[in-house]
Amino acid sequence: MSISRRKFLGWMGAAGVSLTVGQPALAAGNKHFTGYPESFGVLHDTTRCIGCRKCEEACNKVNELPAPERPFDDLTVLDNKRRTDAGSYTVVNRYDDIEGVDGPVYRKIQCNHCLEPACASACFVRAFKKTEVGAVTYDASVCVGCRYCMIACPFNIPAYEYNEALTPRIMKCTMCYPRLMEGKLPGCVEICPKEALTFGKRYDLITIARERIRKFPDQYVDHIYGEHEMGGASWLYVSGVPFNALGMREDLGVIAASQFTSGALASVPVIAGLWPVLLTGIYAVSKRKDKIAEQEKRQAIKATLAKASADAEAKVAKALEQADLKNKRLIEVEVKKAVEQAKANNAEEGS
């Protein structure tokens, strides 16, 4: 019994391993989604940003977000590093003391609107959608509030209304999707006084970014952040300093988030299809083993019984034989006795 258990566990282990190892390459295939062809994006040129926070203000206004604790013209807010939260879809951070640069560099943070968004892949009610215009939108009317999108997002963008008791939402930049639908620019792009933000077709933005880097190789790092990061994003960045100096991770790789889980998900049909067969098989084997053991037991008993009865018969026969002999002798003795008796009687009568 214990051997079959071990064996089985070995199979399960082996099967599990081959499933997860085998799948990712297969699931990934040779397709690479490069975004909807005519979709829009925004190019953020950090060399032009002056950290005026006008974009934050415009964002707050057009999205009707709650009024901030400190006013938008209070630039001391920039003394701390911030991230997006339930009250702000976008924030600007200041990065001081960067090697080889005089003065601070500013960077605007908001949803990057990935081509294959981690949040959309992770959402179990499909609340997120990569629209054809490029914006990743969120539908609060189906959201359960599990916050797996926040776990999944490599850029730490989605925020949650932690202080809403019963109707908390995920809060995140929509790339001003409703405004785009009306033919308007995103609020932040429209207000930016330094043209640090350029709105356009993503394809054109990449050309513009390349052109700037080519024309001014001393001013720019030769990389367009967001072109390939995590499979590419609709927001793109160019910078005069290494991106990690601006708090942007350079170790994210170029694989879209959905590819990391596709292998594990691909094991579902294998388990659903093969496990019942394997388990029923194991059940059948153990049942059959029991049955055979039972049969063998019964046969053994039968054989023993048969042998015993044969022995017994032989014994009885022998006993009978002996009994016969004994009887015969007894009879003979009795007969002899009787004859003698008769003789004696006759003699008595004769005398």
Partner: protein
């Protein structure tokens, strides 16, 4: 029976009732706070740390430690190890209550709990690992309810329904193993989507396999551990068969757990080599990783082997406890310690006492319900009317 008689003579203010009562009262207060003030009112969760101990402990550990249900029933009904039969009912009950508690705990954690059926009934996000978890946990909870139900039906004397349910045993057991394979593994797969956030020592493409394999020895160890506690508190409820088979179960499960842990350990070492993460071992994360791998996997694996060889039941029981602890350490490591490891310590998460309060409250509810059921229903003994009719 004698215990009930004494319990009736005792006042309701016995130590168990007082402690449980206080915890439940605090739990109710915290529940009110949660559903009036939101998660922000009683948790330390933040935008960077959206999942806390309600996910790490209540969900990840809860599900792993409830794995005794599918392992025991598979051993008994599928692999034909009938000598473990008396262990099936306690294991199924533990699993059923465990999963029920997991689902209850999720009602605290998600923003709009009444929408929990949405991913199944309303709009399915099939690309999400969480969808797989949700669907499997939902289905498996139903399977466990049906698997557990004969005990309740015997108690209620509903013989006809019971007969039908008992006939389903084999199908339910197979279905249970399938569902468990899927959701035990996909709880690990949840973290696959964030390679940039999980420390490389714990991040692995094998995470789903690790979670599944470790759930098996977690389940086996939990059966041993739970039986130790039950023998202490519910000894009078156990019939001769249960008591006689108990040491069989302990040695058999210890042996199985030992082998599986050895396999798990080997896989972990392979994983370390394949990702070439050796250089991390010198860091503080590396030391903690080694503490987990050597202290909570290799050590109990060895101790189980010694315990089985020497027929040392005491050692096995302690090892089971240690293994259960090790599973908790592992799940916390993946979901909290290794998660967001690159953030500065000021932005890391540590649970608020009220979060721990809710978890303690839910465990207390588990114990109260478990106690209620095993005192009334045929869990540790066979119902006299249904002896040998399984």
């Amino acid at each position: 029976m004698s215990e009930e008689a004494t319990a009736a003579n005792q006042s309701v203010f016995n130590p168990f009732n007082i402690v449980a009562g206080v915890i439940v009262l605090i739990g109710i207060v915290l529940t009110v706070l949660r559903f009036t003030g939101g998660l922000g009112a009683i948790t330390n969760l933040s935008n960077n740390n959206p999942w806390g101990i309600w996910i790490s402990f209540d969900l990840l550990c809860g599900v792993a430690l409830a794995a005794g249900g599918y392992t025991t029933s598979a051993a008994c009904y599928l692999f034909g190890m009938k000598k473990y039969h008396s262990a099936v009912r306690p294991a199924i009950l533990t699993a059923f209550l465990g999963y029920a508690l997991v689902v209850l705990a999720l009602h605290y954690d998600v923003g709009r709990p009444w929408r929990l059926p949405y991913p199944i009934l309303y709009q399915q996000g099939t690309t999400s690992v969480l969808f797989e978890v949700g669907l499997c946990v939902f289905l498996y909870l139903n399977v466990l309810l049906i698997e557990y139900s004969p005990a309740a039906l015997e108690w209620l004397g509903l013989n006809t329904v019971r007969k039908i349910v008992v006939k389903l045993t084999l199908v339910l057991t197979i279905f249970g193993v399938i569902l468990s394979t899927m959701h035990q593994s996909s709880l690990g797969a949840l973290f696959l989507i964030a390679p940039s956030k999980v420390h490389p020592l714990w991040y692995s493409t094998y995470l789903p396999v690790f979670f599944f394999i470790s759930s098996i020895f977690a389940g086996l160890s939990m059966v041993i551990f739970e039986s130790t506690l039950s023998h202490h508190y519910f000894h009078d409820k156990m019939d001769k068969t249960h008591l006689a088979e108990s040491s069989h179960v302990t040695f058999g499960f210890a042996k199985a757990a030992c082998w599986i842990m050895a396999g798990y350990f080997t896989m972990k070492v392979f994983d370390l080599s394949m990702d070439n993460d050796w250089h991390y071992l010198g860091t503080s994360y590396g030391i903690w990783y080694l503490a987990e791998l050597l202290g909570f996997v290799a050590l109990p694996c060895f101790l189980y082997a010694v315990g089985v060889r020497d027929k040392n039941i005491k050692l096995i029981k302690w090892t089971a406890f240690w293994t259960v602890l090790g599973i908790i350490v592992n799940r916390f490591n993946v979901s909290l310690v290794a998660f967001n490891w690159q953030l500065p310590s000021s932005e890391r998460y540590f649970p608020h006492w009220m979060e721990i309060g809710i978890t303690v409250f839910l465990i207390t509810v588990f114990v109260i319900v478990f106690r209620f059921i095993v005192r009334r229903m045929p869990i540790f003994y066979e119902h006299p009317d249904y002896k040998g009719s399984h």
